[in-house]
Amino acid sequence: MPSEAVVWSILFLPVAAFLITSLIIRPFLNRYSLLSGLLLILCLAVAFGLSLWALWAVNDADAAHRGASLEFPVHTWLDLGSAQIQMGLLLDPLTAIMLVVVTGVSLMIQIYSLGYMRHDPSFSRYFAYMALFTAAMLGLVLSVNILQLYAFWELVGLASYLLIGFWHDRPAAAAAAKKAFIVTRIGDVGFLLAIIFLFFKADEFAAAGLNALHIPDIWAAAQPALDGGSGILAGVALTWVTLGIFAGAAGKSGQFPLHTWLPDAMEGPTPVSALIHAATMVAAGVFLVGRFFPVFQQTAQTMTVVALIGGFTAFMAATMGLVMNDIKRVMAYSTISQLGYMMAALGLGAYGAALFHLFTHAFFKALLFLCAGSVNHASGTFNMRYMGGLRRQMPWTYLLMLIGGLSLVGIVPLAGFWSKDEILLSVWMERDNPAAQATFVLLIVGVLLTAFYTFRMIFMTFHGQFRGGGEQELKDAEEAQLPLPSGVSGQVHLAESPLVMLAPMAFLGFFAVVAGYLANPQWSALPLIQVPKHWITEYLGEGLTFAQPSIPSFSFGMALVSTVVALVGIGLAARLYSRKQGEAIDLVEPLERARPLHLLLTNKYYLDYLYEDLIVRRWFYQGLVAITDWVDRTLVDGFVDLLGGTFRTSGRLVTALQTGQVQFYGTFLIFGALVILVAFLIFGRGIRS
């Protein structure tokens, strides 16, 4: 069993990499900036090893306690009477799996970054931010205290902001960074309110011997008391607390209506998108709901909200993914959609399925993003209309993208199939619940859309004729007198990416193939690797102290339905977008024939207009801000001006007295003396006598 120091070192290794890179390498050794990348890779490799050990320890430490969280002492940080703010480690199955995902995917992406970012002048700054992000993410999953969790939660947000705006000289990147920070902050307000509410409940918790901010204690407090009465957290209060937590999760995980920041976040470097905006940080919202799952389960209202928002997001984001031309934006919408699947599953009680999907999604979505980066490396653009025919020049990238794509679509036997099927099955099992019926329909349609946009992307990128890449795009923009598209390097060198990029992609590709079945075998233990049946879902379920979610057993019917639906989607995409190698350049978008719908989708349901133009500019700037502006300018400024004006005017008057003539001063002196004398004569009787 790992000691506490070992588990802490998983967190502190990337912290050390961050400090060394930003305090030593970047200021003094920037000529050897490659060191920063190698250092972080080394730290993460060790952390990955330790995480595997932690996973193993939680799994097998003691057969009787399999899946039980390891106990570590908590350290009191602030003692406020009844409320004690503590810090510590929580290492349960959920944390252990997240640790492996975060360190493993981060390690692969840092190796890839060595190649992808090689020519960037801010190489070491990039790795400093990446180290900060990884550290914050690890802290987030390890936190035992909700306030500690919140601190890391904001820290990941900060790292995300810094990395989206990594190329801060691009206005689009700076704007996207700000948007991501502000939109997620809207959700975080709900999370913070929930924490504050818990803090004010500290006395009631303390009466029951619990700590209001200690996560396992919050789970316990939400459970109905044994005598049948309500627990400490119950009823409306419980609903509002969970809704607050869900608001934070929705902001981070890009759930409707707070999803608008995630597609814009693609302005950051591609490995950043792969790590933060596909595999880990956006999954933090799902993790958060999973972390408080025993609390969420006690309130049917919140669960319904989570399920419906998840289902709706899964569907809506997929529809927007259909029409995007930017390869990374297609995947951003795909990520939002897949996170919607996870949320929907959580909302319907399928804890294991949701986190299993998180696990597999991290691998195949990171892989897809790295493939997009590889494609961009060759073609100099992210715009798929200027790609095409790349499979001849980039066979490995094509193969890996195909693996990632098929895994995303959910084709047997790739990872995504098993996890997506588990979600669909879990939702189907709840079909007595009307919310589950609606969610199921949305998710099944989502499967069709996912298959369509994924293969539209693959066909547009790798099939048909090459359409000129970044060079052509810049030329076209110049001819059309349009502003030059952001992030287009215009350097086309059609060739396979270097090994340093391909190797991590291949590693992720391997997991995108096997992670699904290996982690969650549906039939029996495999002959070679002794993985028990339904390992990951059971393991996660055993980590839940207060609830035992049911685990669906594999259903051929569901697998058949989802596969057929996915194949229909692929077929449609092939029908509309597949071009033979060397066929004439064709830039007409087949979906444009459905004009109003296409317009609605390309404009992202006009939600950006609603938020930015209507809510922010019209209501906020011209309404609320206009009032506060008036108060500030008229009342506050008026008072300050009045005060200043009084002294200035009186000062000017008094200055006139200062003539510099001694005689003038003398006159005043004499008159002053006279006044004193006369006053003394009149009022000074008592003193004189």
């Binding site: 003539q661 005689q663 003398g666 006159t667």
Partner: protein, 109 residues
Amino acid sequence: MSLEALLIVSAILFAIGLYGTLARSNVIAVLMSLEIMFNAVNLTLVALAKFVAPQGLQDNLANALTGQVFAVFVITVAAAEIALGLGIVLAMYRNTESVDLSQATQLRN
């Protein structure tokens, strides 16, 4: 001559001197006015020494003469002060070629 008459004369002299000090712009006239004020004070000292001090102080001649001695001191100090004042006036004249006090406003800044 009564004490009142002497004090009235002294007050008139003092007022004349004060007016001259404050109102004249020629430095020499101001210095002269200052002298008048000195002398008004001297007159008061001497008058009070003559009419007020001796009563009750008969036994000690030194005490009875305090006012007169004081007047002599004032005259001495006034002479020294005038010498100093004229020195300043000369310095002022050398710098500004004028002895007009209404022009001497350097203190303002």
